[in-house]
Every structure is written in C-alpha cells, then in structure tokens.
Symmetry: D2
Subunit: 288 residues, 4 copies
Amino acid sequence: METNNVTAILRVSCPDRKGLISRVTDFIQRNEGNIVALDQYTDRLEKHFFMRVEWELEGFAISREEIAPAFEYAIANPCEMQWKLDFSDERLKMCIMVSKLSHCIYDLLARWRSGELDVEIPIIIGNHEEMRVVADQFGIPFHLLKITKENKAEMEAEQMRLLEENKIDFIVLARYMQILSEDFIKAYPERIINIHHSTLPAFVGAKPYHQAYERGVKLIGATGHYVTADLDAGPIIEQDVIRVTHIDTPATMVEKGKDVEKIVLSRAVEAHIARRTLVYKNKTIIFK
Amino acid sequence: METNNVTAILRVSCPDRKGLISRVTDFIQRNEGNIVALDQYTDRLEKHFFMRVEWELEGFAISREEIAPAFEYAIANPCEMQWKLDFSDERLKMCIMVSKLSHCIYDLLARWRSGELDVEIPIIIGNHEEMRVVADQFGIPFHLLKITKENKAEMEAEQMRLLEENKIDFIVLARYMQILSEDFIKAYPERIINIHHSTLPAFVGAKPYHQAYERGVKLIGATGHYVTADLDAGPIIEQDVIRVTHIDTPATMVEKGKDVEKIVLSRAVEAHIARRTLVYKNKTIIFK
Amino acid sequence: METNNVTAILRVSCPDRKGLISRVTDFIQRNEGNIVALDQYTDRLEKHFFMRVEWELEGFAISREEIAPAFEYAIANPCEMQWKLDFSDERLKMCIMVSKLSHCIYDLLARWRSGELDVEIPIIIGNHEEMRVVADQFGIPFHLLKITKENKAEMEAEQMRLLEENKIDFIVLARYMQILSEDFIKAYPERIINIHHSTLPAFVGAKPYHQAYERGVKLIGATGHYVTADLDAGPIIEQDVIRVTHIDTPATMVEKGKDVEKIVLSRAVEAHIARRTLVYKNKTIIFK
Amino acid sequence: METNNVTAILRVSCPDRKGLISRVTDFIQRNEGNIVALDQYTDRLEKHFFMRVEWELEGFAISREEIAPAFEYAIANPCEMQWKLDFSDERLKMCIMVSKLSHCIYDLLARWRSGELDVEIPIIIGNHEEMRVVADQFGIPFHLLKITKENKAEMEAEQMRLLEENKIDFIVLARYMQILSEDFIKAYPERIINIHHSTLPAFVGAKPYHQAYERGVKLIGATGHYVTADLDAGPIIEQDVIRVTHIDTPATMVEKGKDVEKIVLSRAVEAHIARRTLVYKNKTIIFK
C-alpha cells in the first residue's frame, strides 16, 4: 500500500461462505471508499475465510466513528465475523524488553529513528543494566527491573504497571532472556513478539546455537513469533536462515546468528505495526 | 488454489477506478459462483488495476460458453478492461525447443511425467541431434531442424509449421541457443518462455558465466522471461541466484548454474500454466 | 579442483599437534607431487585436526600402489591418523533405493546421464513397482523387493545380496520410505545417504510436511545425511530451505518441497562422490 | 579462527609452482608456530597461487619484528611473492563517510559498540548535516564537509588532511552519495569500501532501484566492493539479494533494500578487518 492519506484497515475472519469478498467490497464501494489494498485467503481444510482490506478515509461516506457499528450491523454480525478495525494514523505504543545483548535493540531503534518503524517507544525495560546506555543514546526512558527467583512476581507486577501507565499496545522481547508468567502473557494476547534464535520448532529452549552445534546442522536461523503460555510454541510470524559450516563453533554461530535475528525480528515487528498479521489456531496469517 | 472441480480463471486489467473488485466479485456471486482464489493489485504510479479471480464452474448459473459474452457486456466493456478467460480443464500444449544441454529439458519432462506440470507436450524441436535420446526416453516426437546462417528462414518456417500443425499454445526455450526472428516472436506474443543464465539485466547475450567470472561476482543466477524482439529484455517471470566464490571458474559456474536455471525455468513455466502471469508494459505480474 | 589428470585424494584426521600441514605437504612435495586442492580445519574444542589434500599422480615419485604404505609409515602412524586414500579415476558404484516418488531419482539419473555425477549405477532397488519405468528409461536394472512386516528380514537379505553382487560402494535413499535394519546400516557405515524432507532436527519421522503445516512454519526444507541406527539423527551433509506462507497446505508443501529435496540430495551425493566428506562424532566435515 | 592469543596473519600471492604450501608451513613449523587457520587457492587459469595463514605469536621462535625480514629472505623473494604481514592486535583505524541515510552507519556503529567490529573509528565525515546526530550518539567526532561543484577539490583536500591526521587505515562509504576523485582513490588503494545498492554489474550509477523497477526484476540486491577509479567497477567483496514482486515500487524497494545493503556492507567490512581479503586483477579473494 502506498498512499499519503489516512486509511481504514479492516481484518476479518469467519466461517467460509459464498459472497464474502463481494459483501465487504460492496460495503466499501457503496460508501465511496477507495480500496488501496486487499488480500484474502480461504483455509480450505478449516473452511475458514480471512481478509484484510484497506481504504482511504478521505471521501468515505461514513464518519470514522460510525464505521465500526455500521460494519458490525451490516456484515460482521450476519456473517459471524471476528474482526478488527484500525486507522493508519493511530501510532502504536511499543515497549522493548531487553537483557544484555544489543544487536536487536539497536536495529529496532535505528529503524525507529529513521522513520522505518512508525511507532512510539515510551519505555524500554531491562533486567540488566547493560542496555541503559543504548536507551540513553536514543533518549528513551530505561527501567531496570532485575529479576531473581525470589522477586519475580513482584518485578512482573512492576513491569505491568509500567506498561499500563504508558498505555503500551505491544511488547517486543529483543533477546529478553526471561520467561514471562502466564498471567503476563494473557494480559497481552497476540501483542508480545519474541525473537527465538533458531528456526522453530528446532532447538526450543535454552542455548539453541549450542544445540545446533551439537547436532551438526548446516543452517542456523531465527524465528519471530507471538508469545503464548507454551514456551517457544506461539504462532510464527517470520523465519529466516543463514549457512554455517563445520568450521563454526557455538561462539561463531552466536555472532553470525545476530544478523538473521535482528532482521527477522524487525520484519515481524513491521508486519505487526502495519496490521498485516492475523492469528488463527496458533498460526499467523501474513497479509501482503 | 486447491479444488478438484473445474474452475474459470479470469485475468483482467484496466484503468483504475473505484469499485472494480466489488463489480467483478458481485458478478460471480450473483451467479452463484464459489470463488476459490482472488488476487488483485493496483499500480498506483500507472493508475492501472489488475486482478485474477478463479471460481468453480459447478453450480455457476451461467454456462461455460456464455460466461465470456456475459462478462464482456456487463463489466469488461463499461470498465475498458483487457481480459482473458480460461478454464482449468483446458490443458495447454507446450513445445520444448532445445540445443545440446539436458538439465532443463530433463527437469521439465520429469515434472511432466510425474504430473507436476499439467500440460501436453506434443513435440520437441532440437537444432542439434543430442537431445533426441531424451525425447525418446519420454516417448515424445523429436524434430531435428539444424539451423545454419543460410537456412535460418527456411528452418523457422518449418518450425512454425510444426507448431501450428500441433496446435502449440506456448513454447519453452530450454537452453535453446538460437535467436528467434522477430516474425517468429510476434506470432507467439507472451507465449515464448526463455531461460537466461544470469540475473538479467546483468550479463545480457552470449556466455554470461564467462562475463560473471570476468567481473568477479559473488552470486550467479538465472532469469525466466517472456521473449520479445529485444534480446534478453523481455518481461521477467522469475529469478534466483546461488553463491559462487573466487574458487569458481567459468566451468564450475556453468555446472553450479544448472541447478538454478532448471528450477527458475520450471517455476516460470508453472506460473504460465496456472495462468498466474499477466504482462503489462514489459513487466510480469505474478498472481499468487 | 580442475585438472584432467588423475589425482590422489587423501583425507586424514588426528589429534591436533604442531606441524601437521607441513608434514603432509612436505611428503607430497618431496615426491614431486603437484597439489591441486588442499583444505584443512582444526576443531579447537575437540583439539582434532582434519585435512583433505589432492595432488596429481602424473610425475609423482611414488607409484600408485606404494603411496598408502609409504604414507602410513612416514606420517599416519607417527601422527595417529585416521585416513583414507582414493584416486579420482576410481568410479564409485552407487545403488539408488526408491519407493513411489520420482523427483529425486529423476534428478539423480538426469545428472548421471549428462555426466554431472561421475558414478556407475549398476542397479536400482524399489519396494514398489512405480519406479521401474524410470529405471527402464535409463536402461538400469530394476529390482523389485516388496517389503512387508512379515518378509522384512528376508527382503533385506536379498537387498544385501544384490549390493554385494554388484559391488556397490554406497547407497542413495531417494525418498525410500522404509526404515533400514541396524544390521544393514552397519554394513554400510557412512555409505548410505538419505534425504529427509525437513531441516533436521525439526520434524523427525513420518510426514514432516504435515508436521510443518501444523506448526505454522514460514520455511520448509530438506536434509541430506548419512544414515545411522538412530532414525533421522545421522551426520548432516547438506540442508536448504524454501519459503512457504499461510496459504500453503500439506499438499502444496509436498509439491514445493520436491525442488529443495532433489537439489539437496544431489549436492550431498556430489560431495560424497568427490570425496569431500569426512564424518567425525556424528558431524560431517565438508571440504571445499 | 578462534584463539585468544595474538596471531600473525600472512597473505601471499605468487606465480604457481610446486611446494609453495609446504615451504610456507615449514617456515612456521620449524620456528615452533602453531597454525590456527590456513586457506589457499590456486587460480589454474592464471597459474597464480594465493594463501592466507595465521599462527599464534606466543612461542614463535622469531620475534614480531624479525618475522617480515626473515620471511622475505627465506621465502618471499625466492618465490617472487606479493605479501602482507599483519598482527591481530593491530586495530585498524576506520573512517566512515556518509550523506543523509542512516541505516548503514547505524549498523556499523552498533556492531562497533558491541565489539562485533574490532576497529577504531576516530572520525566520521559527512557531506550533509543529517548524520551528525548519529555520530554524536556514539561520541565520534563528526566533520561536515559540504561538497559543491565549485569546492570539490578543496573539500577533498580537507578530507585527505583529516584522514592523514587521524592515521586512517581504511574508509567505508556508508551510502556516501559523492564520487571520489581519482587522486583520492589512488591514495587509498584497496582501502575504500563502498556499498552499491544493486547486484553489480546490474544497474551501475545513479538510482539503481529506479532502474530495477523499470526493468521489472524479481530480485534486488547490494554489492560491497573496493573503490577504483572506474565507477562501480571495483573488486567485489560481497553481494546478496532479496525478493521483490510486481507490487513493489521504487519507494518500497528503497526500504526493503536497506536491510540487504547494511548486512552486505558490514560483512565486507568484517572481511577487510579480519584480513581475509586479497585483490588480484580486479577480483577479491575471500579467505575463510
């Protein structure tokens, strides 16, 4: 999509039936909307329909506030749709959580600073001191919450307070080496993006590069996924790989892997920000 | 698309205007058609609209023969559309033209034999004797037409006679090392697919691997494209690359390149057969 | 390596110590050998040394038969080396084992016919009738040994009889959908190459594309590996991936995966034939 | 290579002859050197030999200062070698030159800060004001030298003064949108690394993404290369690509291309810093 006008972005899913595309596009056309992007997909095995459509608000016959109720009444309810409506001028508020490694957070902040990532970043939360200097470089408040076995519940409570206080829309775990509690995860469903340093489901859990080294693989990779209560088992947004050889050690894999981790994470975040993702049964549909 | 039923496949392009998707899908829906695939795209720089939609014929209210006139009258003419209508049970007739190298023709024929490529292959035309044995292995008539400077016009006339006699729909140049005449090319517009052994526009013309070696590149590749009167300048369908290093010579590049050539050519042919391509201003839109 | 002369190919491994490269290359140089390729590698974690060196036989001061004893006495024994000596004019005898799918066997046979794979293929063994037609196309004897739960031991005995009778050097499982017995595997250590249709260790066992679909991955791949008694856990020779999207079903993954399977398997076989592989502690060193 | 000890790194090239590897490794071994990496290559078409060998200084029988004269006398002169000797504890001094775009400079500085790039960066030179803020973030002096048609010679003189004053070893053009003069280039032979936003030799010169869009390519890429007096024609160090589709515009290609540009440039810089590059006849040998 390329337009400088504000757009409405509608994502829907529902049981498949005839005429769904026609009904939705007709709703937009009759109200003088100019569609700038449309992507749809029918899961034939699940008999389920998915669609993302984006149209310019300028000239649209229904006011911004009235679109949701109008759509709900005319189409969503009769078709038993799950749906989300967003507007392209609503900038999401993103919180980065981080431990000691800088490659992912630097890549995110450099993209944010240059305008590649169209978000607000009100806060960065670290469980180690190391990344404060990076937050400082970009003028973003850094909150250090050191987590130990003893204080974990307390620290999470403080994290959640900060997230609420700053009206955070979604969280990016930029190599945050802590497992979040189920309660935390449930509070941000499909709104926590993690980067795992393997092509899941290979090498779940700790030290995936060491596992990869032990297995003697010829490719290593990274996976950007939404976090669910199941460790490293949430819906995958993006994956990529790079070659390694017998010469590589766990240490060189860690270094090489950084490039693919940061690129994969940033692509996953971009897809989320552009409202191009939709989760269904632990899979992520990525609209174009 | 995955359906066992016969489908209608409609590809359209026209100047962009509001409501095009709605009009086309409404035409299908009102006539009880079940859409199994839809992809559309608007070129915002050219203000031009492109769409491919596929629906099941079973249960469609308009008979197969009446769809084209009905669509033309109701939508295509008022919207100034260029359009093509095909049916999934119409198997295209493909002619392979070849010189001495076997990797591309073997890959095509192996896919054809296993059912991956849903086409008929009535004839293979060679300008050398070498590939007769391959044609024989797969029981396809092989026509040897040795081209020299002196007999080129005569041989092309014979080629075109064979193509017409066998009602060939499209031609695949599977490393056919001859330049076709403008008249030949004009007779098969957007119906001749060539594989060039470089990532065009790099290394146009003869011996691209030798050119690549001379330039010291770190990637070599291949390009599947429709043939136009401009040598190696037709609309690109598919491209891919593989890594080379300083160790590679022109000879090892020739060997390594074979893998990427055959895969790229077969992907291009598959896109053409599935009616997923549409050429506009020397570019190829590849519908999903 | 590019030379038209016959070469000696020496692969060695031993505990690391100073001067190993110098000792081996000095042995060759003092005897007037012209080195055409050398690759070495030290595993610093295991403190183990690996090397492959290839030199022209023409002009070498030691006769072909005397090289092994001379090298053993002068260098291999004092340095506690494991080693193999081969000559480039010794064509390996390869047996292809296959079930019903044709893409891998076609790719291997097309390469063999064109001279890309410099091997002999005395026999093809199938446990189904389907691939007999492919063997026939290329004029290679096809042996049908239908395996059932009841006759498995008997059939394997017959397979091994055929392998011995035909002096088979190594076996390629080109989508052979049977698990070999431990005895069979032990008879051909590091001499059975399998293609598994996932990037191991992800999706071990049956129906990896269905597992990949269930998990919602964005990449599928293939792994060429030496077979060991541990199912899908042998030393990896080569891996590669291709992208899939939410649109893909198990059926389309099966189709797309064929390209990467056949390329990965052929690359693994090429590395084995060129004596560029060396297995150490369940990993495969791939010399360049 | 992985060792914590200081190493000597020797790169040599010379006309090919028998016994070169043996002579060099023997020199190291006789002096009690422990080789930690060795890579060699013979260009059979040019009959030229290339080698990189790295060994630990600790325990080496020749003092650091005496290695060069000893090697020159014993081996380099008799073998007519071109050669360079470096030590791993000599940190190179790198100058970044930049215009308005931040993705490449951010990637370089983030790697430098995290220790991935083991260099000193005494200065950054910009021909626009925009990147001062990035230099400031990382505490590196930023020199603004605005170049116009009129003042180009003067500004280059000032650039070269700064480079000399800061004892710069090599220069990275991180999307520096100015053409350097021949005199400047000659002063830093094989010591200026540029990133060009296409897979050279495709799309030389200005606006390669616009050229790529016009041609309708399916892959875009980037090339890291040493700068020579021939524009975009210097020895290639690294290249990579990413996929685009018919949907992409010049503007989206510019965005997508940033990822591949920064990764390719950083890999090229890493190879240079690790002394793994060697230029011969306008090609770059990349030792492993």
